[in-house]
Symmetry: C2
Subunit: 290 residues, 2 copies
């Protein structure tokens, strides 16, 4: 089936790479706001009978949902056979139950909404947390791709004598598999989250690894507070400047600059969210599934 | 049934007025953004078995949809018997067909989304355009309230010898009914829309009404370009400074100040979108339906 990629703003590079890998084409479209804040969409290619692939990472998701819905519905209205959302970073994966009375379970609500207007979803390493699978909340077919081996490869090729440092017990299994494939040891932080932007961390047994290069790995770098705290501990312990690696680099506010200022030797992300730190390509993992 | 009003930001005054009229209460809730741009919601009142009334005018709608969905779903999840959206201004009523090949029919898509997560909708004078009823696009019960008589009353009480001026043939019926109840004559502009922000207008027979106070009326004041153009024509014709009245004052960008600078004597709106121009209350029209 002919593949037509629609790149939402900020996803043009990834969409082009995917189109190239799959011999698909980049669809021409208009997406703009009227002066009153309403969105206008128009698809300028014939999508009848095609597979329309919407490429849209879902960092800062709130303002993206309506344009996505409009484009998907427009494509189907114009006769597209299938609409697939490639959202390398998937939003609203954290609030998966009521931690406090009265809270909204936003991961469920968001998944229900997306499931209502696209036919399938592909994503990279969603933050599954207490859930075991996206099928618990998504009613459409979903495909989850893992970047772990790509990260291991990058570490093996670029870092001399690495020590992997994972953020919390929840990520231990993931960090250990990245470490095994990178032929490197790893430690897991002892961590206490104080609020949305503050965390308290300790690096166990770090003195055993003075001759190693610390590599902080996490699935999401958002405020970067955990990594910044960790760098402080590593410096006090007399360790080398660390490399910081995230699958998804959100970099809320000034997180990227703050992380460099705190003493990161280098900040590396997968190209799931377009950013100058993108150094690990995952487009070749997505392409075979399309 | 007990009524609990949840006021989305910017709708607090209207929600309070409605709660007062109906002996309901204002629900306590939290609505905030995480640093990564995701929305957090929490309802801090027991809504079990109640009617939860979400008060949210839909000017600049794109960023409001997700919080609205989350609050409605949370309320239902906590046992609310019914969720009603009071959206005095309803968005996405203009694009009701493909004017050009490939365009999205956003009024249909938006209505389908809203219909999926609230149980009923109340709005004031939606811009129906080519549609005859909201039921063509909304699958939930909807109630449409008209502000015309309120506007007539205001004109009768405040304007000496008014001449109503309506923006286009589409609004002629509405303007004529406002005029009849205001005991005033009216004219309809000859108007050509050049693009999103530019219009060309002419005021027919205006020289017959030199001793009248022009009152420009429209359902929506968005960029205010039509009114500004019209004022230019009125001034050239030697007419008095006009009063400008809109049901819904969106005032995109600097529209409010531009309209004053252009020579509006006064700008008056209904309280459908909170603004300093609100002078005509419609809350007492909504209350009996809740």
């Amino acid at each position: 089936m002919e593949k037509i990629f629609l790149a939402l703003p900020g996803n043009e590079i990834l969409a082009s790479a995917l189109a190239k890998h799959t011999a698909g084409s980049i669809g021409r479209m208009e997406l703009r706001k009227f002066p009153d804040g309403e969105t206008y969409v128009r698809i300028n290619d014939d999508v009848k009978g095609t597979k329309v692939i919407l490429v849209c990472s879902l960092d800062y998701p709130d303002e993206k949902l309506l344009p996505l819905n409009f484009l998907a519905k427009t494509a189907k209205g114009l006769g597209a056979a299938h609409t697939c959302l490639v959202a390398p970073y998937l939003a609203y994966m954290r609030q998966d139950r009521r931690f406090q009375k009265g809270e909204g379970i936003t991961s469920t609500y968001f998944a229900a909404m997306l499931s209502q207007f696209v036919d399938s979803l592909i994503t990279i390493d969603p933050h599954l947390h207490r859930r075991t699978s996206l099928t618990e909340i998504y009613s459409i077919p979903t495909t989850v791709i893992h970047a772990a081996n790509k990260i291991s490869d990058w570490i093996r090729e670029h870092i001399d004598n690495p020590l992997l440092i994972g953020p919390d017990s929840e990520s231990a299994q993931w960090v250990s598999s990245v470490a095994v494939n990178a032929h490197a040891p790893y430690v897991i932080l002892a961590k206490a989250r104080l609020d949305d932007t503050h965390v308290d961390v300790a690096v166990p047994n770090v003195e055993m690894y003075k001759d190693h290069t610390p590599v902080l790995v996490d699935d999401i770098i958002s405020t970067a507070r955990t990594m910044i705290e960790t760098i402080g501990h590593l410096r006090k312990a007399g360790m080398r400047k660390p490399t910081c690696i995230g699958v998804h680099g959100i970099f809320a506010g000034n997180a990227y600059d703050d992380l460099l200022s705190a003493g990161a030797a280098e900040i590396i992300t997968c190209n799931t969210i377009e950013h100058r730190s993108n150094r690990i390509g995952i487009d070749d993992l997505i392409a075979p599934i399309l």
